[in-house]
């Protein structure tokens, strides 16, 4: 499907707005995970604002597409997107990580638009697989998307699920790998290398689509390609930059799980104008 320059521009602007919300939320909360939220912002913005079939006023609508954020620590991104879609009042974002808030430190059922909790890494692809099997059984006519972190796929359960999803020919399932190259302790390649990551997924029977995870057009085309693929699940392997959009956070592992100070938050918002 061809996408107009105007549509691309609009999504870029939307992603910038989401990034601003992420920075504001985490700064205000005083803790959280900016690095991975910012690296997958373009991917999930494109998904929710260009591809996703859903009804924010009816979050449990049975025909909705499913999204599961397996790398749950990046939920500020998800919350910002849900709020922008009207799932809840945008002011809720300022209660992130507070006691009694509908926006927990890791996603759970308190949040309208979140089906199921995540946070313990490696479990999400299995959940998405279960959703995929249910869709096939019910001819539900919806698609299932699952966001994985690159550090996360060091978990063995991910590969159990990968094996099963191709065994059961889950072509309604599209995984998205946010390959930003960093995990908490440092560079992926130094902590526990993943390469050759494309070959690994292919060997497990998946259709792989490698893209630049900050190129809106490439992202949209990848989702389209995944949807067309029959007989096997697809994974979009997106090369991204951790902390994307804020110069002093980009590729700085410290910002995996540290909130910006008030001063840093201000500077970041200047950059994201």
């Amino acid at each position: 499907m061809p996408y107009s320059d105007e549509q691309i521009k609009e999504l870029e602007q939307k992603a910038k707005k989401i990034r601003r919300l992420i920075v504001q939320m985490i700064t205000k909360a005083g803790s959280g995970h900016p690095g991975g939220s910012l690296s997958s912002t373009d991917l999930i913005t494109c998904l929710y604002f260009a591809k996703f079939r859903h009804r924010p006023q009816d979050p449990k609508w049975p025909g909705r597409d499913r999204f599961h954020m397996s790398k749950g620590h990046c939920c500020p991104l998800w919350y910002a997107i849900l709020a922008e879609n009207g799932y809840f009042n945008i002011n809720e974002l300022w209660n992130l990580r507070k006691m009694g808030s509908i926006l927990q430190g890791h996603p759970d059922w308190r949040t309208p638009g979140v089906d199921i909790a995540s946070g313990s890494l490696g479990q999400g692809l299995s959940i998405a697989l279960g959703m995929s099997l249910a869709e096939k059984m019910d001819n539900g006519n919806y698609r299932i998307y699952c966001l994985l972190g690159d550090g996360e796929i060091q978990e063995g359960q991910v590969w159990e699920a990968a094996m099963a999803a191709s065994h059961y020919k889950c072509d309604n399932l599209c995984a998205i790998l946010d390959y930003n190259g960093y995990q908490i302790d440092g560079k992926i390649s130094e902590i526990m290398g993943l390469e050759p990551v494309v070959d690994k997924w292919q060997a497990f029977g998946w259709h792989t689509i490698k893209i630049n995870g900050h190129d809106i057009r490439q992202i949209l085309q990848a989702f389209d390609q995944a949807e067309k693929m029959k007989g096997k699940p697809s994974i979009i392997i997106a090369q991204t930059i951790k902390g994307k959009g804020v110069s002093f956070m980009e590729n700085v592992v410290d910002f995996h799980g540290r909130a910006p100070t008030a001063e840093e938050g201000k500077t970041a918002l200047e950059e994201l104008k």
């Binding site: 759970d108 909790a117 479990q123 299995s126 697989l129 995929s132 159990e160 094996m163 065994h167």
Partner: protein
């Protein structure tokens, strides 16, 4: 001689009945469908059965995904894998989200026998009982297995059901099953024996022996470990002042712990515990293992003597 049945045989048959009655029931197994008896369901309803291979973490996670899409999911594997290998998945995917998943674990306890310690789950009740709002049930015989499986299907939310490998004798004259309600199988004023699973029949035998000594033991089948029937325990304490708890499980974390938690808070009385004491199991035939680990009728009698 009472009828002997394998709980898992009854499970397989009941699952098939439920599958006929309710199209919403989906069954998952992890390469043990022959042993857990889910194979019976799989042959009749292949489109509603998924064998996930030797991958228990994914087994539980996939069950969660199906449940969130509205399915009633029965998941089976051996107790050691369901409760141990996949504990984090049970906690974070199933129980935290209050999903409608029934984990039916077979081959629990020492009576797995020759397979040895690696396969003898004697910690599973502890691991499952600690999870908020998890329902934990243990049938004492074949017919009760059917009651429990049906009760689990009718209940909305996560359930763990524990059953053993070998045949167990049917206990006649039980009252009608009710989840969370202890069954008084025999009345007595001198001592209470509270048991679950395979130890219920042995407790009745012990009470029979004690009757010959003019001691009246009452026997309680505590088929629901969680939520535990507090009132039944308090009543036992009030009536007999002495309690023996019997389980084919570690004496820590399981039924004995659940009972002692209630007693220490509401009605402290002396109690004895029959169970595995801070040890792993080993290979052997089930009866010899039960002797070796002091889980026999004689051991229950001895424990009662200690208190009487």
């Amino acid at each position: 001689m009472s009828k002997m049945m394998m709980a898992r045989d009854v499970y397989g048959e009941t699952l098939l009945e439920l599958g006929c009655e309710d199209r919403n029931i989906v069954v998952l197994d992890a390469d043990l469908s022959g042993s857990t008896r889910t194979a019976k369901f799989s042959k009749v309803f292949p489109e509603r059965f998924f064998n996930m291979g030797v991958a228990e973490q994914n087994l539980i996670g996939t069950a969660g995904g199906l449940a969130i899409c509205g399915k009633t999911v029965f998941v089976s594997t051996f107790a050691i894998f369901a409760s141990g290998r996949a504990w984090d998945q049970v906690r974070n995917t199933i129980v935290y989200n209050k999903l409608n998943v029934k984990i039916v674990a077979t081959h629990a306890g020492l009576t797995v026998g020759p397979d040895g310690a690696s396969h003898q789950a004697i910690e599973d009740m502890a691991l499952m009982r600690v999870l908020p709002d998890m329902v934990v049930m243990v049938p004492c015989d074949g017919p009760q297995t059917k009651d429990i499986i049906r009760a689990a299907a009718a209940y909305t939310g996560p359930v763990y059901i524990r059953m053993g490998r070998p045949k167990v004798p049917t206990i006649e004259g039980k009252p009608g099953f009710q989840m969370g309600k202890a069954e008084i199988l025999r009345e007595g004023k001198d001592i209470s024996i509270i048991a679950c699973g395979t130890m219920v029949k042995k407790s009745l035998d012990a009470a029979g022996f004690l009757a010959g000594e003019n001691k009246q033991a009452q026997v309680i089948n505590m088929h629901t470990i969680k939520p535990i029937d507090k009132q039944a325990i308090i009543n036992c304490a009030g009536k007999t002042k002495k309690i023996v708890v019997c389980e084919e499980h570690m004496i820590t974390g399981g039924l004995a712990s659940a009972v002692s938690e209630v007693l220490s808070e509401f009605a402290p009385v002396l109690m004895e515990r029959i169970g595995v004491r801070n040890k792993f199991g080993q290979s052997g035939n089930p009866d010899n293992l039960l002797k070796k680990y002091n889980l026999t009728t004689e051991d229950i009698v001895k424990a009662c003597h200690k208190l009487l």
